[in-house]
């Protein structure tokens, strides 16, 4: 017997439950194809159902209030809403239950829109039968629900920041200022990352070197920040709110330091795309990448000279390594504005330089558009080349560097630009960070960057609770956007750590110690390393850490002894759903 099925004090037996069922019209989205009234009629006499109604919009405020009144008036202990996808409104109706004094985990959402009315617009009768069947299944599950309470975990008031670039530095300062103790780990000998190596940057024309110096000074002023340079994260153990990180400092005497932290902010940044030899002439003397060019102009105080030759004509080729079908398909976001800015920097050094920008699309979004306009005013010529006809770079026998391209605005005639310097505007690529990915269980997208849970609603959280991502390790960002996401990670860290405890979803897997034989099959199935060996009553069994478990259910079917059950989705509940659905013949 699993804990879920044991009789809870005051819990009614399944047949005596008092369940309210609400079937939603969704304003016609459902009722145009499903006979909602018939569904209500078909389920109102199911065992345990006390009240069954149809609603035009179940999610409307007034309807929610009616449900709350029903719960109070009829003394309901179970709630079923048949409407849209659980992704949309599970939280909404759990809220209805909570406000009316019912345990929110005794609510079941049944999806009769995406999985029924929208999919079977050609068969109203069949759709109605399916709806009846789905709702009966939902009622069957609800009969077996038990009240569940969130897991409460105490949290350590400390944070770990991985990466000492502009994002990590600013995040560390922010974390320190909300009163958390901070450990900052940087792999390189010096703090600062990419920005620390840059001269003047857009849009404020302040040098990256100065920005980093200012941040490092701020870090030093804060006693609650400990910086480890030349250091790496080697291991992470523990669970949400109480991780233990092992940091190796690579000095003459390498040492391993263990620190306890409540959250981890990953700000490991990006690499720049490195073109292959021959790609747009890369490898030819006079063909450089944007970072190489930036270093050249940052080091110049007058007219540009490259390898002893004066630079009077520059050709920029955009989107090198970005927006390439089959490879890096994303836009690297920072490069258009960075190049417009570099062109202005060049004009400042030498007004007589001719600058050709060969682009696919210019994306100097937002305020950076002004830099684009400004660079045009300073004589930069922007030329769009057709997607199917990218520029080619070659050095002629006479030694002239020639870029062959087409300008869409003059009808696509082939043109040859004699250039002193060709700049390949290279984008961002994800850093090779396999060890860190394995260690932190960071989810990675198909593009190779770390993935957040939701780009709008949870932009810096990962599926691993307490592990947050910020800056360009998430995807291409400029430094402004990177710092903003670093501060979002600060806020999120504060939100989960500052009250001293965290509440976790109780929908996790549990082990029946009496059945478990410690065959270790579940260990391999768990993607979160939530399962460990434990001794219970003299026997070796599996124990699942509820604060690490994400409730994915991966371990449940692999257990040969049926010893694992998932709270909220117990074997008994799922079986009951299947059985009751089978009772309803589908036309």
């Amino acid at each position: 017997m699993n804990s879920e099925e044991t009789t809870v004090a005051g819990q009614r037996s399944p047949e005596e439950r008092r369940i309210g069922v609400y079937v939603c019209h969704c304003g016609g989205n459902i009722s145009d194809y499903v006979d909602v009234k018939r569904v209500v009629e078909a389920v109102k006499d199911e065992p345990g159902v006390v009240v069954a109604r149809d609603t035009i919009f179940a999610c409307a405020d007034a309807t929610q209030q009616n449900m709350e009144e029903d719960i109070a008036q009829y003394g309901l202990d179970g709630l079923v809403v048949a409407s849209c996808s659980p992704k949309l409104h599970t939280v909404t109706f759990r809220g209805v239950a909570r406000r009316a004094g019912m345990n929110p985990y005794q609510y079941t959402q049944v999806n009769i829109r995406e999985q029924d009315s929208w999919a079977h617009t050609d068969d109203p009768d069949g759709a109605t039968h399916l709806a009846i069947s789905l709702v009966k299944g939902g009622i069957a599950r609800t009969r077996l629900t038990t009240p569940l309470e969130p897991l409460v975990v105490e949290t350590t008031q400390k944070a770990l920041v991985i990466g000492g670039g502009i994002t990590g530095l600013r995040a560390a300062i922010g974390l320190a200022d909300v009163g958390l103790e901070v450990f900052l780990v940087e792999k390189e000998r010096e703090l600062g990352g990419w920005v620390g190596r840059f001269g003047t940057m857009y849009p404020h024309d302040r040098s990256g070197h100065d920005l980093i110096a200012q941040l490092v000074a701020e870090v030093k002023r804060r006693a609650n920040i400990t910086v480890f340079t030349n250091a790496e994260l080697m291991a992470k153990s523990g669970s949400f709110g109480n991780y233990v990180a092992a940091i190796r400092v690579n000095s003459d005497l390498p040492e391993l330091i263990h620190v306890e932290v409540g959250s981890v902010v990953v700000a490991t940044g990006f690499d720049t795309y490195q073109p292959e030899v021959g790609e747009y002439g890369y490898g030819i003397d006079g063909v450089v990448t944007l970072p190489e060019f930036k270093a050249l102009i940052d080091a110049s105080s007058g007219p540009l000279v490259y390898h002893g030759r004066p630079v009077k004509t520059i050709a920029y080729i955009y989107c090198v390594g970005s927006r390439q079908p089959g490879a890096n398909e994303y836009c690297s976001r920072y490069c258009c504005a960075a190049t417009a800015h570099a062109a202005l920097q060049v004009s400042g050094l030498d007004r007589g330089v001719h600058q050709y920008h060969l682009y696919r699309d210019i994306r100097t979004y937002g305020k950076y558009e002004l830099m684009y306009t400004d660079s045009r005013k300073h004589g930069s010529v922007y030329m769009k080349f057709p997607d199917d006809s990218p520029p080619a770079v070659a050095r002629t026998e006479s030694g002239t560097l020639i870029v062959t391209t087409r300008d869409t605005l003059t009808g696509g005639e082939e043109l040859q630009i004699p250039a002193d310097l060709v700049v390949l505007v290279t984008g961002m690529v994800p850093r090779k960070n396999d060890e860190l990915m394995d260690l932190l269980k960071l989810p990675v997208g198909t593009d190779g960057f770390f993935n957040e849970i939701h780009p709008k609603l949870r932009p810096v959280e990962t599926v691993v609770d307490g592990v947050l991502i910020a800056g360009a390790c998430q995807g291409p960002k400029n430094s402004t956007e990177s710092v903003a996401s670093g501060l979002a990670a600060v806020t999120q860290s504060a939100a989960i750590l500052k009250k001293g405890f965290a509440e976790l979803d109780p929908l996790v897997a549990t082990v029946d110690a009496a059945k478990c034989t410690w065959c270790e099959k579940c260990i391999d199935a768990c993607p979160y390393s939530a399962i460990e060996k434990a001794e219970v009553a003299g026997r070796t069994v599996a124990a699942i850490s509820p604060s690490i478990c994400k409730g994915c259910g991966g371990c449940v079917p692999v257990c040969p002894e049926d010893a694992i059950d998932l709270r909220g989705y117990t074997d008994a509940q799922i079986r009951a759903v299947i059985d009751s659905m089978l009772e309803e013949p589908v036309a």
Binding site: Y356, G379, V381, L409, T410, E413, E414, L415, P418
Partner: protein, 391 residues
């Protein structure tokens, strides 16, 4: 074939005007509003783009450059005040300077001081040269050729004409080559077959008669911006008055020489005012004087887009034309006065010197459009003919 770009092209064109054209971002409003731009040739946007990108051959080899009459609608509509019409004018000056191998045109356009000095010095040179062979100033009758020998004027004129012809021919050949390369037209396409000859004949008729002498599209398409003006104040009439006046005087001069050749009337023989050749010269001179006076007034008052931006070279042409016309009339007055005034001789010397200079400088200043525009219009008509055949 790909074109090697000239990164300095725009800056070079801007020495001839078009100060604001860098602001152009190729939206194409100018092409949309232009009453002349059509499927046979689109401008001004494309030509501005040529200059920005550095496509020198494309710019110099564009027939569209010379189809524009600078009505200025494009500049009025331009969202970035890039003055496309002003650019077209500047690009035409640039083209004249580029077709000329001597750099004289470039100097006159880009250096107002040098241009003015050249204009004054050249007139002075002609005057001194003529005066060096001067004879007596008769007080009984105004014997002009007694003062400056007729053969000297005639022979100097012939030499000047030959020089001008050679310079103009070189320019026209350069231009025609450039355009035909851009348009993909060979000599064979123009004169290689009976059909080609017929096509070229039609194009020539359109370019010379209909558009150049008749100013058809200038009158019908480009004058909406001046709709409130009376006909005699409109740009097309002022231009026609100047052009026909000049051509009338040229014809009168040739006829006068012709009459001497066939022995009907020796040059310089006094004739009554109603004598046909004299009458033609008088009427043509009036038209020329009216046209040039109005052109000068319009420029002084910046009366329209075309007149609002004047270079020293523009002024030189107008002033030379106007002086030639005015001094011509003064001589005519002197001729019909009962007793010959002494100033008649000096005005005559001045008139001859300025007229010589006017002819000699023709290929090196705005006057050159009289040759270049018909050439471009010929290619334009040829392209239109070809497109019509394809349709």
């Amino acid at each position: 074939m790909s074109a090697l770009v000239d990164a300095g092209l725009l800056a070079d064109v801007q020495k001839f005007g078009a100060a604001d054209v860098s602001a152009c971002y190729s939206c194409g409003n100018c092409t949309a509003i232009c009453p002349l731009s059509d499927n046979d040739g689109t401008f001004p946007r494309r030509l501005i783009r040529y200059a920005q990108v550095g496509m020198k051959d494309a710019l110099l080899g564009s027939k569209e450059l010379w189809t524009c009459y600078h009505c200025g609608e494009c500049s009025d509509t331009c969202p970035t005040q890039a003055d496309p019409g002003g650019f077209m004018a500047a690009a035409r000056r640039y083209a004249i300077a580029n077709y000329d191998r001597t750099h004289l045109a470039r100097t006159m356009y880009t250096s107002p001081v040098a241009g003015s000095v050249i204009a004054i010095l050249l007139a002075a040179c002609f005057a001194l040269f003529m005066y060096a062979s001067h004879g007596a100033q008769s007080t009984t009758s105004l014997n002009l050729f007694g003062f400056i020998p007729e053969p000297l004027i005639h022979n100097t004129g012939v030499v000047v004409m030959i020089l001008v012809f050679l310079a103009g021919l070189a320019g026209v050949i350069g231009m025609a080559r450039g355009i035909s390369r851009r348009e993909g037209i060979s000599v064979h396409d123009v004169v290689g077959s009976r059909a080609a000859l017929a096509r070229s004949g039609r194009a020539l008729w359109s370019a010379l008669a209909v558009e150049s002498l008749g100013q058809l599209r200038f009158r019908t398409d480009c004058e909406s911006v001046q709709a409130e003006q009376p006909w005699y104040r409109r740009r097309w009439f002022i231009h026609a008055s100047t052009m026909w006046g000049f051509l009338g005087l040229l014809t009168a001069t040739i006829l006068d020489y012709g009459l001497a050749l066939v022995g009907i009337k020796a040059t310089g023989t006094p004739v009554p005012i109603w004598y046909p050749v004299r009458l033609l010269g008088t009427v043509a001179g009036l038209f020329l004087l009216y046209g040039t006076s109005m052109l000068i007034l319009d420029r002084l008052r910046k009366a329209n887009r075309a007149a609002s931006d004047s270079t020293a070279s523009d002024w030189t042409l107008l002033v030379l034309l106007w002086i030639t016309g005015l001094t011509g009339f003064l001589i005519e007055i002197a001729l019909y006065l009962p007793s010959p005034p002494a100033w008649g001789y000096w005005v005559f010397l001045f008139h001859v010197s300025v007229a010589m200079e006017l002819v000699l400088l023709a290929p090196f200043m705005k006057f050159a459009h009289a040759v270049y525009r018909p050439v471009a219009l010929f290619f334009y008509a040829l392209a239109g003919d070809k497109a019509n055949a394809a349709r």
